[in-house]
Amino acid sequence: MTNHSVNLTPIDKTLFNFLQNDFPVVQEPFQVLAAHLEISEDEVIKKIQYFKNVGLIRRIGPVLNAKALGYTSALFAMSVDENREEDAAAYVSGFAGVTHNYKRDHEYNLWFTLVARNLDEMDTIIRDIKKNITPKKFLKLPAKKMFKIKGVFNV
């Protein structure tokens, strides 16, 4: 990990990758991980707590599949004046269905993903955003085909 003050031992790295890819969903998962790594259960728990404390791990839990849940989602891009960027971003972030919201270096400077239970709900939210932010330009970019979605970063 080159750009971080955290030093991970080889066991830390193995555990880190295990946690992402092969978390055992069983009654005593940390004991299972401990057995794999040949360390104690307490040590596994301590290491995971450490990963969380230093901000490497956000949480351990399910990653939901929006499409399988019947939700509608799309990527959107807006062009807003630089001096209004922060306010616009904050407004967009306020919607629970907005999962990602980024500033990018382009005329289209605000990019966000919106998930909604159906198209009507999505359209209502988008109408609201357009009305309140009045972007100079606006793009709706739903996915046509998904080749990959995997936010796993092995170390």
Binding site: N3, H4, I48, P62, V63, N101, V115
Partner: protein
């Protein structure tokens, strides 16, 4: 999705406690045994409602400081092949085909993650070789305003 699956997901969709039997409380709230709960979670994984169960990263803090969205305009007949080859790269987390727009004529999108600019640029070069000599644009992520996991959506009337 059944009500019981919805209830279960709402119960477990946050963060797993770091205890010896971390599913115990969830199971108690749901009125099932831990083994039953784990079985249900694994079943939802198999059916694809849950993509993955495990650690969700703060990838920027995990050292991946250079994150770009690369977009390409490739002929429709080549999208599938190029998309699959890009998706095979470990440094690409997301790869999608989207429709082109009038003033944004790109149909293939890839999110590239690297530890630093040097590494990022070498990944980008590799992608350009895979894609071939077609229009490309590279948008660096300058600021992350929000990054949350999807949770079960509830309306105002729920």
């Amino acid at each position: 999705m059944s009500d019981s699956a919805d209830n279960m997901i709402q119960e477990i969709q946050g963060d797993l406690p770091l205890t010896r039997r971390p599913f115990q409380e969830f199971a108690r709230h749901l009125g099932v045994t831990e083994t039953e709960l784990c079985g249900k979670i694994n079943a939802l994984k198999e059916h694809g409602l849950i993509r993955r169960y495990g650690a969700v990263l703060r990838h920027r803090d995990a050292g991946f400081q250079y994150n770009v969205m690369a977009v390409f305009n490739v002929p429709d007949g080549l999208v599938d092949d190029i998309g699959e080859r890009l998706a095979a790269k470990s440094y690409i987390s997301h790869c999608y085909e989207r429709d082109r727009c009038d003033d944004w004529p790109y149909n293939l999108y890839a999110m590239i993650h690297a530890r630093d600019e040097g590494e990022g640029e070498s990944f980008m070069k590799e992608c350009q070789t895979i894609v071939g000599n077609f229009p490309c644009n590279i948008l660096k992520s300058l600021k992350e305003y929000k990054k949350t996991s999807l949770t079960i959506l509830k309306g105002n009337n729920d």
